[in-house]
Symmetry: C2
Subunit: 889 residues, 2 copies
């Protein structure tokens, strides 16, 4: 039997269904499914993703049987629509779109109105009775086809239109008449001939195959590759091609086109939410060129729109749409994002898919649907993407802060962000590489901007609605975004914008509030995220399913408190060096470093002791009942010394020392590769008195609380940067001596653990030996990534962007754990450690502890806990639940 490469749908029937997403792509599978549900969908067919894969495997050759199968299905479409492709009187026109397994909005090229030529345009004109519409459609087709299939510069066509408008002395496209478009069609064709040396194709079949080929080729274009990289979509999946009969939303005032969501994708509220434009093609809504109208009165009211809603303008169509959306949501058991077109009062559904949503909406919809009985609790938990909820947890603007409001736009993606204004994606990348927070300001965004949006803290556009490119992409990224800020006047050339009288230049700081749409001058302080009741409820479900414990990395009582509120079950990494930097103690730290001998160091350390002890007292109190892992001093000592001449002078004066002494010490301590230098336990070995002081501070704090306040504390003392078991053995001896002494002094029987951070390949490789002296392991995956890859995190900016761009690395290994390499060491180290001690407690405390993919890996290899920054604790909890639920599914 021949393989079926092409699947028909239409008129209540379909070869495929929603189960065949991998084969038909998301869009194709849903078009088939909608047909099966009896929803009005323009008939068409889907060329499968397997054709795409075969095409790339076979030097851009189609499977042999494809042509024949396409023709058969095309005939079926003709029959259903009662129009023939290429028919001079009543031509069938087609849309050709891509459709991958996962929606990639705006990334894949689309051709509309395909089938028009010098002959069929006349047929369209007479059948629609609208000359202007026919030639407008034809010129749109030529423009799109030239751009997408013939690879000509789009701007030249726009230029010709501008010339025509100038000649006609009009301002808007809509003011051009049928004969103007007819003229333009001729100019367009002439331009195509000039540039390609060939006539614009008149044969509809040649047009069709050209478009199909372009879709397949667009799978490998730069934007698509970029999107796949960011979203980690495998190249092998391929795209399907959907060929569908055209219906027109732009044939007059009884026509419309729109986009809607079955629930509010921004808040999750259970309202039918959407936008539409009368007499327009679908692309007009998404591109954000005209500001669309609300779909119903409720939305109109809520968003304070002055434009008439569809419910008012086209009540029967609106009612039909309501019936359809309810049927779709019930069927898919998830919030749907639908595209529709109304052609002469007939509603056509062009697409349905699970709608992208903000984190807030995702949580609310999942919890609501579980309560409505539509889905179960496990499904609700799985419905919320751990990577996304991060945005819920970030601070919003401090309501009490003064705000110098400049203007307002649409609240396209919630959250708040401050940053320096940049006007291009390139600048966004450049500035952010320099460690600056940036806000990307654009007239409107396009797929070319994705990389820049990725690094920006927030996005502000002058045009576009809530479903514009900027809005959809920003929501997906969990980034704050304001769209449709129409008062915004951008002067790209001079790199500045004005907004209601405010003049802002590149580099100036502004603040966005994505939840209100407010654009604010300068930087505004923020407050902690307030989490919804639904969120709290969801998190209790999450905790029912997860196995992995979630701790936090916190160095201060304040961070500790935040983390506790987010549900942290202890501290996995308390860095003691941050305490060294505080104003009141850095002097003593420097005195210690400048000391000539052990006595001098001890004297200075004695000054630091009570302060460190004070910190630990507070942290232990905040974490009452939960374990606290404290890492002894890690960074090289030169980090604590002043570096500029001015600072040196100041410090010299403050410490009453000679500046030369400080300079000399700096020279002595200077290192070629500080990352691989005199730090971690190497400090503890060369200056044991430092670790002794720190241990004393920890143990005195713990003993005091146990003795005087009836605490239960098991301090976990962590020795950093161990590479050889002997280092740990020696440091354990040093630390343990102090521990026993303090317990004796306080007459307290206190259990304490002494463990190590596994952050060097050698420690992981010899973990069986290291485990002999360790009560616990904590994988420091930041440094482990640096040494395993040989990447300095501070220097990687010079080549990592190229690596990601060229797809050499699938992702930034400092963000998502490199399972293949670094992960192998983590797994191997855990296994070896547990060979020696079966019940060895093992966790991870690098940045990866808050990265969902990495958390899932940690669950898989049976770690006991992950530890992450306070704001990522809920992310990690959710990811840990996903890990269990996905493993069992």
């Amino acid at each position: 039997m021949t393989q079926q490469w092409v699947y028909f749908f239409g008129n209540g029937q379909a070869d495929g269904n929603s189960q065949l997403k991998n084969l038909l792509g998301g869009k194709g599978a849903n078009l088939a499914e909608m047909n099966r549900l009896g929803i009005p969908v323009p008939p068409g067919f889907t060329i499968t993703t397997e054709v795409c894969t075969a095409y790339y495997r076979n030097q851009s050759q189609y499977p042999e049987e494809l042509k024949k199968q396409v023709q058969e299905k095309l005939d079926q479409v003709s029959t259903t629509m009662s129009r023939r492709f290429g028919d001079p009187e009543n031509p069938l026109l087609l849309s050709v779109r891509s459709g991958a397994r996962i929606s990639m909005p705006g990334m894949m090229d689309t051709v509309l109105n395909l089938g028009l030529n010098d002959t069929t345009v006349k047929g369209l004109s007479s059948s629609s009775g609208d000359d202007r519409f026919a030639y407008d459609s034809y010129r749109r087709f030529i423009q799109m086809y030239s751009d997408v299939v013939l690879d000509l510069d789009r701007s030249h066509f726009e230029h010709l239109i501008e010339e025509k408008k100038a000649a006609r002395e009009v301002r808007l496209d809509t003011e051009l008449k049928a004969e103007d478009w007819q003229d333009l069609v001729e100019s367009f064709k002439a331009y195509v001939k000039k540039m390609t040396g060939k006539d614009f194709p008149q044969d509809p079949h040649e047009q069709l195959w050209g478009a199909i080929g372009a879709v397949f080729q667009s799978w490998m274009n730069k934007r698509a590759i970029e999107y796949r990289r960011i979203n980690q979509i495998p190249e092998e999946w391929g795209t399907a091609v959907n060929v569908q009969a055209m219906v027109f939303g732009n044939m007059g005032e009884d026509c419309a086109t729109g986009v809607a969501f079955t629930r509010d994708p921004s808040t999750g509220e259970k309202i039918f939410y959407g936008e539409f434009l009368v007499n327009a093609q679908g692309e007009d809504v998404v591109a954000g060129i005209r500001t669309p109208q609300p779909i119903n009165l409720r939305v109109k009211e809520r968003d304070q729109s002055s434009l008439p809603s569809m419910e008012e303008v086209m009540p029967p169509c609106y009612q039909e749409l309501v019936n359809i959306y309810q049927k779709l949501e019930a069927h898919y058991q998830d919030m749907q994002d639908i595209e529709f077109t109304i052609e002469k009062d007939k509603v056509w559904l062009l697409q349905t898919r699970n709608g992208k949503r903000t984190a807030q909406a995702a949580v609310k919809i999942a919890v609501d649907m579980a309560k409505e009985g539509v889905i179960d609790k496990k499904t609700a938990v799985l419905r919320v993407d751990p990577a996304q909820i991060d945005q819920l947890l970030h601070p919003s603007l401090d309501p009490k802060a003064e705000k110098n409001l400049m203007g307002k736009g649409l609240p396209a993606s919630p959250g708040a962000a401050s940053g320096r204004v940049v006007f291009t994606a390139e600048e966004a990348i450049e500035w952010s590489d320099q460690g600056k927070d940036v806000i990307l300001v654009r007239l409107e965004t396009s797929p070319e901007d994705i990389h820049g949006m990725h690094v920006a803290k927030g996005i502000l556009t002058a045009r576009g609605g809530m479903t514009s490119h900027a809005a959809v992409v920003a929501r997906g990224m969990g980034k704050c975004c304001i769209t449709g800020c129409e008062a915004l006047q951008i002067d790209s050339k001079n790199k500045q914008f004005s907004l209601n009288g405010h003049q802002i230049s590149q580099g100036d700081e502004i603040t966005l509030d994505g939840s209100t749409g407010e654009v604010i001058l300068g930087k505004v302080p923020t407050t902690a995220a307030k989490l919804s009741g639904e969120f709290a409820e969801l998190m209790t479900w999450v905790d029912e399913y997860r196995r992995l414990k979630v701790r936090t990395n916190a160095d201060t009582p304040e961070d500790t408190a935040v983390a506790r509120r987010f549900g942290a079950e202890g501290i996995g990494l308390c860095r003691t060096e941050h305490m060294f930097f505080e104003e009141d103690r850095i002097g003593a730290v420097r005195e210690m470093i400048l000391a000539e001998n052990i006595e001098g160091r001890k004297k200075a350390l004695a000054k630091i002791l009570p302060m460190q002890k004070g910190d630990f007292l507070e942290i232990f109190r905040e974490m009452k009942g939960f374990p606290v892992t404290i890492r002894l001093l890690d960074p090289p000592l030169h980090e604590f010394l002043p570096h500029t001449e001015e600072e040196i002078q100041q410090v010299a004066q403050k410490l009453n020392r000679n500046a030369d002494e400080i300079r000399k010490k700096l020279t002595t301590l200077n290192e070629f590769n500080p990352m691989l230098g005199h730090r971690g336990c190497r400090l503890g070995i060369t200056y044991p008195e430092i670790y002794e002081m720190q241990t004393r501070a920890i143990m005195e704090a713990a003993c005091e609380l146990v003795k005087n306040e009836g605490f239960e504390i098991i301090p976990e003392i962590m020795i950093p940067l161990v590479g050889h078991v002997n280092e740990l053995a020696l440091m354990r001896e040093t630390v343990e001596k102090v521990c026993l002494k303090i317990c004796d002094e306080f007459q307290v029987k206190l259990k304490y653990l002494i463990g190590t951070m596994i952050e060097l390949p050698r420690a992981a490789l010899t973990a069986d030996m290291v485990a002999k002296y360790a009560d616990f392991f904590s994988f420091g995956t930041n440094d482990l990534t640096q040494t395993t890859f040989g990447f300095s995190r501070d220097d990687v900016g010079k080549f990592l962007p190229v690596y990601l761009e060229k797809n050499i690395l699938p992702q930034d290994p400092f963000v998502t754990l490199d399972v293949e390499g670094v992960g192998r060491l983590v797994r191997q180290g855990t296994e070896l450690g547990r060979q020696t001690k079966a019940k060895l407690k093992v966790g991870i405390c690098g940045e990866h502890g808050g990265d969902p993919k990495s958390v899932m890996f940690c669950d898989k290899i049976d770690l006991d806990y992950v530890s992450c920054s306070p704001y990522r604790v809920p992310v990690a909890r959710l990811a840990a639940a996903h890990a269990v639920l996905k493993e069992n599914s």
Copy 2:
């Protein structure tokens, strides 16, 4: 049955034999064996190494049965010597010495004349008829015992002697009379009482147990630990204690003591070689306080000594000694180092052991003995320590160079070295840590100096003979050494010396010729080592046994030629960056780096191309028929730019550029951790044009030779610093494109290999994937050690010495491969690579490729080759043969 803790020997009988070295130590086993051979040895007993181990395991408690067993054996000694221990009339005196499995010269404490007290000294006086001798012996005993057992400062006793000499107005010890020594004994005892609060022990048994305890304790003293660390002797081995009846070489002119070798330990010549002193104790010879006399006429003549030889002074004793040495060498089938004492014309052998020897001597003795039929060829190969022959291969002084001779000493250890003068071990370490070559100049050396000797390039002493501490240790270390340079006058306080009118201060450069004993002013150029016929012969035997190929690391045609002469079978690592630094091309390299764009870089690269090609032509010619692995550019680009302001100005002028441009570029290229930065294939990925130029240079050179000169060449192009397979895949594509193009241009069918250096943990961990794109692997163990340990080789000086001192690391991992950690990655990487490609060629090209222990590991894990610096090629060849022979033995 009770365990035997104590082994008797004496009078032609012995409980032990030479097989029991592990139990009795080297000295004890040989004392037993000599007894069995009928050689006259003072009777005694050996307390086993197991007692030492038990002692340390059991909180410094002896095994229960030990006391009784010691008493039994002591009674046997009494019987044999017909003297009783503690007998007031005719007392038996004892020596107590340590004796580990492997000789540790000067490292363990010794007590002589034990058993003397206020009573027995009178018995000794009357039985010897020599008052002076008796009291001199007694004071020596008190001195030694106080130092070693009671831990009192030795210098105070010397001070009392000086006072006595001053009072008597004499200059030499020998001028003091019996009553002077008797007085001193009283002062010594008073001092001991004052310092310890107790009388000097009078009970001989108390003395004996004190000395035994001191020997065991000395196993853990700092010097012993240091020696074990340097020589990698496990602590668990422990030491035995040898208690032996005293015989006296200092009872008059018919007494003597000496040290001899059965062949010349310096040259290997088959002559009976040694030194002795009339009327002296053994320690006097070794300590180098008196310059000893030659053992026979032949030595006297050869060394142009003016002192009378033993052959002349004591002919019958000499003849007996000759009989004994011949018997011993025949028995042990190796060159023996013997100690003897003549008491009243009776010869006693105190010790025999396999003699330490220079590399030259080791080679000659091994080859000679094989030819004499004493040993077989395999044994001969195994007799030469690969670590030692290094010294044969180093350059000697250029005979044509002008030499400003300052003076002459004994040629104690061959080789030549220049360096800056230092006067203490501490300074030697300090200066050498700063990267300076030093010559350690001492009156005489002692075990405290070992660490300083280890880092010095050469050692010069004013006192001591060919068997002095300095000489023995330097030979063991393979270091150039001159001893007994009596004209040398050292002024330690002012850190200077004078030698025959030359005034030299600390830091001045001098040169030593260890083969002639010449001390030369300033630095003298050197020439390549001339290797003996025996060496050449031995190396042919070596090559019969080894499996591992030995290549060299060479970047220049000159190095390549040297390596070929040493038997290198190809180049394992040709670093191309060194070529970039040459005077005539660094300008173009800098131009390339400063270029603003790819065109500018290509223009500059085009200038470098012909020069690199020229290098490769020459190297291929030198290595005709052997493989050459060329590594593409590795170091970060900033290494090629000038760094000081002065250099920047010069370069700016030379390149006709603005100095600001250079400064700006330096700032851009500056890195926090260059080791982990923008280097290796990361350069190739960001600037493919560099690798393309280098590939072109390699391939054009190869094709030209193949086409025009009929060569067979398989260039091996190596991509450095690969961490992820995708890096190699991309670089392979880049390089291969050029390769194919050049082959096409030249119309030559040339086979080439493209492989990678495995020098990052991630590459080793994912070697199965990396191997897909690699024709070969070469482990870059230098960088792999840096990343696996997280040690920057440039910064490790701040803590590695402490690590070695505290025994945290058994050895410097940059010298000897860390088998446990880094080695595990090498093994794992090799296995994974060969899972993908069974016949993958795998080698190693780090410094470890020339380190014998590391070479043996490489053989064990089945690598195909090691690659090392040219002068270490023979070392690696020999080590490779040892690996095979030891595995099969």
